[in-house]
């Protein structure tokens, strides 16, 4: 009989972690739908970036208020999870506060006391976050892409945190033996009065209930991640590792174009002769991106990492002046479409069945794409090294090179460059005329 709860615990834990792993596998499969890119360079710089930006939150604190609150929640989250270790071991072995058996009371008390203080700070921070979102209505949380699920998602996570922190403190407060130690109950001692006069057996039930709900809550949270913007707590690490290391202004040179251009410019190549042997293997590549599979896997990882904070959008000159473009929406659309493609694969035994949809037009409109000034403000603002501009550029490439669908004025600009080497209709032979003008 006494083993029943251990077994139940083990089953819940296995189910919770199992489902999580299943979804992570799906996530990896989806990211791998992207094109290969070589990111094996500069390992040491990459580790440094990950340490600074993801672990050290260096870009978060650029906005001091939200940055500080985020650091508290982040540290609290990581450190309080040490307590989860104890919970898991207790659950398996049917022990109670295993830590007390292996650690001196004072050290145990110090640890739990730290957790309690952090839990309290996290609770307060989360409340402030909630107020910023829902009462102060910070504009970046109220843009057009932040309705329905994205809006609720943001709040659900905050409720989750509030509940988990409360459960942790209630669990400690209702633990008679723990309170009797009077070590580490820094915060929970102020909650115990709520339970005064209650029978010890009732307290025990409350304590057990809080314990179970706490661990189940954590498992639910873990499995919620895959469906949420909160995935960033895991993906921020690989994403900052694989983030761009080149100067922001440098856009990739498309290799397949280089080959063709070199061939066209090479006087030794006769364009009318039959292609050389082996060349026919070169399937004419699609230029640019109209759907998620045309993007690189790093760009798809970017999409899953996006935490929808909207720092990019609030710095975007196009968005600030009322244009439809929002770099956050570019990332959200990419993720949504990628999820749709993933579900399509699941439903069709791993094979993608054309669904008549694509990222371009069905998610991201041309109007959004053409509003970008390529200013890199979004890239600079992103706290987790996401590059929305690179996706915009790939989609413009598709529009121009595959569909010749640039706005008319851009077409004349390009015709000018082609004919006279300048974006305006001036003759190249007049390029030095300024020298003699008064």
């Amino acid at each position: 009989m006494s083993y029943l709860s251990n077994i139940l615990f083990a089953l819940i834990l296995i189910a919770g972690i199992g489902y999580f792993i299943r979804n992570i596998k799906k996530l990896i499969r989806n990211i791998k739908l992207g094109k290969k890119v070589d990111v094996s360079d500069n390992r040491s710089q990459r580790w440094r970036n990950m340490a600074m930006i993801a672990l050290g939150q260096s870009k978060m604190v650029r906005r001091p208020v939200s940055g500080l609150l985020h650091v508290i929640v982040y540290l609290g989250f990581i450190i309080i999870n040490l307590e989860v270790l104890e919970i898991v071991l207790d659950g398996f072995f049917g022990t109670h506060r295993l830590g007390l058996k292996v650690l001196p009371v004072s050290l145990y008390g110090f640890l739990i006391g730290t957790f309690e203080v952090l839990a309290c700070l996290v609770f307060i921070s989360v409340i402030i976050f909630w107020i910023r979102r829902n009462l102060l209505k910070l504009s970046r949380f109220w843009k057009s892409e932040m309705t329905s699920w994205p809006k609720n998602d943001g709040n659900f996570i905050l409720y989750f945190e509030m509940v988990l922190m409360t459960l942790f403190l209630v669990m400690n407060a209702s633990d008679v033996e723990f309170q009797a130690l009077n070590s580490g109950n820094i915060i929970s001692q102020y909650i115990t009065p709520w339970f005064s006069g209650m029978d010890t057996s009732v307290l025990h039930v409350i304590e057990r209930a809080a314990w179970w709900l706490h661990i189940i809550g954590i498992l639910v949270f873990l499995n919620y991640l895959y469906f949420s913007k909160h995935l960033h707590i895991l993906l921020a690490f690989p994403n900052t590792f694989y983030g761009n290391l080149k100067p922001m202004g440098q856009m990739t040179n498309v290799e397949s174009v280089t080959k063709e251009v070199k061939m066209m410019m090479d006087p030794n190549v006769d364009p009318f002769t039959a292609p050389v042997e082996g060349a026919e293997d070169d399937v004419p590549e699609k230029f640019g991106a109209s759907d998620v599979q045309d993007l690189s896997w790093v760009q798809l990882l970017n999409a899953y990492t996006c935490t929808e904070c909207g720092r990019c959008t609030s710095e975007c000159p196009a968005n600030q002046t009322g244009k439809k473009l929002s770099p956050r929406k570019i990332m959200m659309d990419t993720r949504d479409r990628l999820e749709e493609v993933g579900k399509n694969l699941d439903a069709n035994k791993g094979e993608f069945k054309d669904d008549g949809k694509q990222l371009l037009d069905d998610y991201i409109s041309k109007e959004e794409l053409w509003a970008c000034t390529s200013c890199n403000a979004c890239v600079e603002a992103c706290p987790v090294s996401i590059d929305p501009l690179s996706i915009i550029l790939e989609m413009r490439r598709y529009l121009v090179m595959e569909q010749s669908a640039a706005p008319a004025e851009l077409n004349s600009m390009m015709t000018n460059i082609e004919n006279n080497g300048a974006p305006w209709p001036y003759n190249q032979m007049d390029r030095l005329n300024w020298k003699n003008e008064a």
């Binding site: 100067p247 922001m248 202004g249 440098q250 856009m251 040179n253 498309v254 174009v257 280089t258 063709e260 251009v261 070199k262 410019m265 230029f287 640019g288 000159p317 196009a318 002046t321 009322g322 244009k323 439809k324 473009l325 109007e367 053409w370 509003a371 970008c372 000034t373 390529s374 200013c375 890199n376 403000a377 600079e380 550029l393 989609m395 413009r396 490439r397 598709y398 529009l399 121009v400 090179m401 640039a406 004025e409 851009l410 600009m413 390009m414 460059i417 080497g421 300048a422 974006p423 001036y426 032979m429 007049d430 390029r431 030095l432 005329n433 300024w434 020298k435 003699n436 003008e437 008064a438």
Partner: protein, 263 residues
Amino acid sequence: MSELLKVPTMAEYMAEGKQPEVLFWVGCAGSFDDRAKKITKALVKLLNKANVDFAVLGTEESCTGDPAKRAGNEFLFQMQAVTNIEVLNAYEIKKIVTACPHCFNTIKNEYPGLGGTYQVMHHTQFLKSLLDEGRLTIEGGKFKGKRITFHDPCYLGRANNVYEAPRDLIQKLEAELIEMKNCRKNGLCCGAGGAQMFKDAEEGDKEVNIERTEQALTVKPEIIAAGCPFCNTMMTDGVKAKEKESDVAVMDVAELIANAQDL
């Protein structure tokens, strides 16, 4: 004045069997745009004054391909790039200075992958180096004590992390350098980049250059300093739209220095 400008071409250098110290890449705006041509000339005057042995490509120069690339036309970009690289390599160019951050960024970052590797400097960096080497001296002159704010060009600042060179030069003028709230890394775009210069903006409730000009005007400058011919146009238009052109001038950093010395 213009007859005093010495602007040798690479072809002329080649004919004499000489190699200049640096190639001045003028760029399309610098060659054809009326406002930008003034910047070009101001820079040439400074180069002449400092006795810099420079040359231009003249009619052999062609668009770097920046607007085409950012519009998504990689073919056209690479055609332009490869053509330019052929010319530059034939002249064995090692060092390039340009007054356009777009040309600067493209040649510095995107040409190496296509076979063109050079030391590329923005003109503010180059002028700064002339100053440091004592080849050029700047005195405050007429800008002493003036309130000047610097608008960071995206392709110089964020794109390439050049923030100090233009500011150092402005401070050398003994001017009062005042920063906008959004400066350096957080500088707001003027609205011209990514080929926007060549098209109307998408529907919205404001033009980007107006927003940026308003930000600049809040710090009450007498001069808005720019380091890019496109920013210059955008900010000039913005100041006009705000009917402030009689109080606020938009000038390139090179023009400030040249004017300070009455060149």
